[in-house]
């Protein structure tokens, strides 16, 4: 019986078809496009605000260097800094919120629409479906970060001069190397969102309501962000997923100061392992009654 044999050992390509379809489906949703649109708008707003503030391109922006959000002061001198400023502005809330919406909705949204039962009897396989959802969420993390970075680069190039980049440590590097560092930063920022993605996926396996899962994930994000501000909690703060987020700025030092960067990546990996396993344990054993 050839059909049964095919069922036992499907080619690797067929195994990936769910992931491919999942990714295409995600980026065809209006909700996803709106989230990405909001993220793309942030650099535009920051860029225009800086432009107006400096009254049409004067070089007297140095006064802003001390206060205000990170890197905003340097934007007028070099549009490339709008990339760093925008990532620093969106990483604490906008980016993880968007990821929380996508991750929280991943399983719970299918459950509340009822499509989960049809995916499972297709049969998608619970582990395979969970992996497809998680991988797609990671793709979204990268896409969301790149949208911010690319939008910022475009706005920065349009409104401000581009040129050699003066790093935090004072050394100056070429624009080309600055762009490479910007790309590396985008990669690190995307990786910083892995923890939220894993947390959201786990929350998503707990409930049959997509809205509840999204709200719970975003709620957790805000709570953890607040907890990270209390000095009294310094003992647990190194284990909170946003704790090392802004360490990406260390990529703008020469030499690159890696300690915090690695801690961040390790922490995100830990969250992915812990909450990924928890999501798997929950989802593979749960009765699907929706």
């Amino acid at each position: 019986m050839s059909q049964a044999e095919a069922a036992v050992r499907p080619p690797a390509l067929r195994r990936l078809s769910l992931f491919r379809n999942e990714t295409v489906t995600l980026f065809r949703r209006w909700r996803t496009l709106v989230l990405l649109g909001v993220l793309a708008a942030v650099p535009v707003l920051v860029g225009i605000a800086v432009k107006i503030e400096t009254g049409g391109g004067g070089r007297g922006a140095g006064a802003h260097g001390g206060d205000g959000p990170a890197f905003v002061g340097q934007v007028t001198n070099n549009g490339l800094f709008l990339v760093f400023a925008s990532l620093a502005a969106t990483l604490p809330f906008f980016l993880p919120m968007a990821v929380g919406v996508v991750a929280g909705d991943s399983i719970a949204g299918e459950a509340s629409a009822g499509t989960l039962r049809y995916l499972l009897v297709a049969p998608a396989g619970r582990t395979r479906l969970l992996l497809a959802k998680f991988t797609t969420t990671l793709v979204f993390c990268l896409a969301a970060t790149l949208v911010v970075a690319v939008s910022a680069l475009a706005v920065g190039a349009l409104l401000f001069p581009l040129g050699e980049v003066t790093l935090i440590s004072g050394t100056t590097v070429s624009l080309g190397e600055g762009l490479v560092r910007a790309l590396a930063i985008a990669g690190v920022v995307a990786a910083s969102l892995v923890g939220v993605a894993a947390l959201g996926l786990f929350v998503s396996t707990l409930t049959g309501s997509g809205i509840a899962a999204m709200a719970a994930t975003v709620g957790l994000l805000i709570t953890v962000q607040i907890l990270d501000q209390f000095p009294q909690l310094h003992a647990v703060q190194p284990y909170l997923f946003p704790h090392y987020w802004l360490s990406f700025a260390d990529l703008l030092r020469d030499p690159v100061y890696g300690d915090q960067l690695w801690r961040n990546l390790a922490l995100q990996g830990l969250y992915a392992a812990v909450f990924g396993s928890a999501a798997w344990a929950r989802f593979t054993s749960r009765d699907v009654t929706a």
Partner: protein, 315 residues
């Protein structure tokens, strides 16, 4: 590979939900290969829970379930590609077109060949009469169209077993006829069809076998003919003298008498006295009989006799 005679077989299948509610109790179900099997029961009798256990969506509390000869849910990856299912109505992605909904469900099956996907999707759409609406977003579909699209998803590949939970729900009479014709043609092609329905005459029209559930228990299963035969038909007398007829029939042991206009109906006596004697007694008592006979028992009579209720929600 020898094909097992039973496509679905359960032994002592039981599901107790976490709240303690016993949804299915000790179910022993046998669905023969090649049958069109009607699965009957009032709302809340455990039909859908049973179907969900058979499809591996719910873990049984106790007992065994075998589908296509293999244990469920353990063998789901091997069994489910050969099973098409419509469970508790269709569920679709409203933001995708009908065609893309099917593409997605097909992509979820790791054993489905992506090279033939587009052709199989078109064929399934054709089969349920949705070819012209395939490009419309599913949220714009009517309930009947959604139901058809759900059926199309079950027909994406040649299946050995189709599990259809209320397949004609939301369809107009024309749509119902089409679906029944589709079920018949699938069955004649060798597919076993497991069909749950509220509509008894629907079961009677298309099914070869049936089982009746009530309050989580299986009351009876067998061929539709056997089930209907197990219930005796009602005696019906048409007469203008209904009051006299009721009195005479009661004297001769006819129970559960009911009068509607000029018709008197009742349960014939348990002791199989010749019904001709009953007729003679009526005539002797001066009852003018226009028509006399027994009505053929329908599946509905069998159902009511078994569950002691109509299609009310089981408490």
């Amino acid at each position: 590979m020898t094909e097992p005679a039973a496509v679905i077989e359960t032994r002592g299948l039981t599901k107790r939900f976490r709240g303690g509610q016993l949804a299915v109790a000790g179910l022993d179900l046998v669905v023969p290969r090649g049958s069109v099997f009607g699965f009957l029961g009032p709302n809340g009798s455990g039909k859908t829970t049973t179907i969900r256990m058979l499809m591996g969506l719910i873990e049984p509390t106790a007992g065994l379930a075998r589908v296509l000869g293999e244990p469920m849910p353990a063998a789901g990856a091997r069994v489910l590609p050969r099973v098409g299912a419509l469970i508790e109505g269709p569920a679709l992605y409203g933001f995708l077109s009908g065609r893309d909904n099917l593409v997605r469900f097909d992509a979820a099956d790791p054993t489905a060949d992506p090279r033939t996907r587009a052709a199989r999707v078109s064929e399934a759409l054709e089969r349920v009469g949705l070819a012209s609406a395939a490009g419309k977003k599913a949220r714009a579909y009517s309930l009947g169209m959604k139901q058809r699209l759900g059926l199309a998803a079950a027909l994406l590949r040649p299946r050995e077993l189709l599990v259809l939970d209320e397949p004609t729900n939301g369809l107009d009479p024309q749509g119902m006829r089409e679906i029944r014709a589709l079920v018949r043609s699938l069955a004649s092609g060798g597919t076993t069809v497991f069909l749950s329905s509220h509509l008894l005459d629907e079961i009677e029209q298309v099914c070869t076998h049936a089982a009746v559930m009530s309050r989580g228990r299986l009351l009876v299963q067998g061929t539709v003919g056997e089930l209907a035969a197990s219930t005796r038909g009602r005696l019906a007398v048409t007469t203008p003298d209904t009051a006299d007829a009721v009195r005479v029939l009661k004297e001769h042991g006819v129970n559960d008498l009911a009068v509607a206009d000029d018709r008197v109906t009742g349960e014939p006596p348990v002791a199989p006295a010749d019904l001709a004697d009953l007729n003679a007694a009526l005539v002797r008592a001066g009852v003018r009989v226009r028509a006399f006979g027994t009505e053929r028992a329908s599946l509905e009579d069998a159902f009511v006799a078994l569950t002691g209720e109509g299609f009310d929600v089981a408490g």
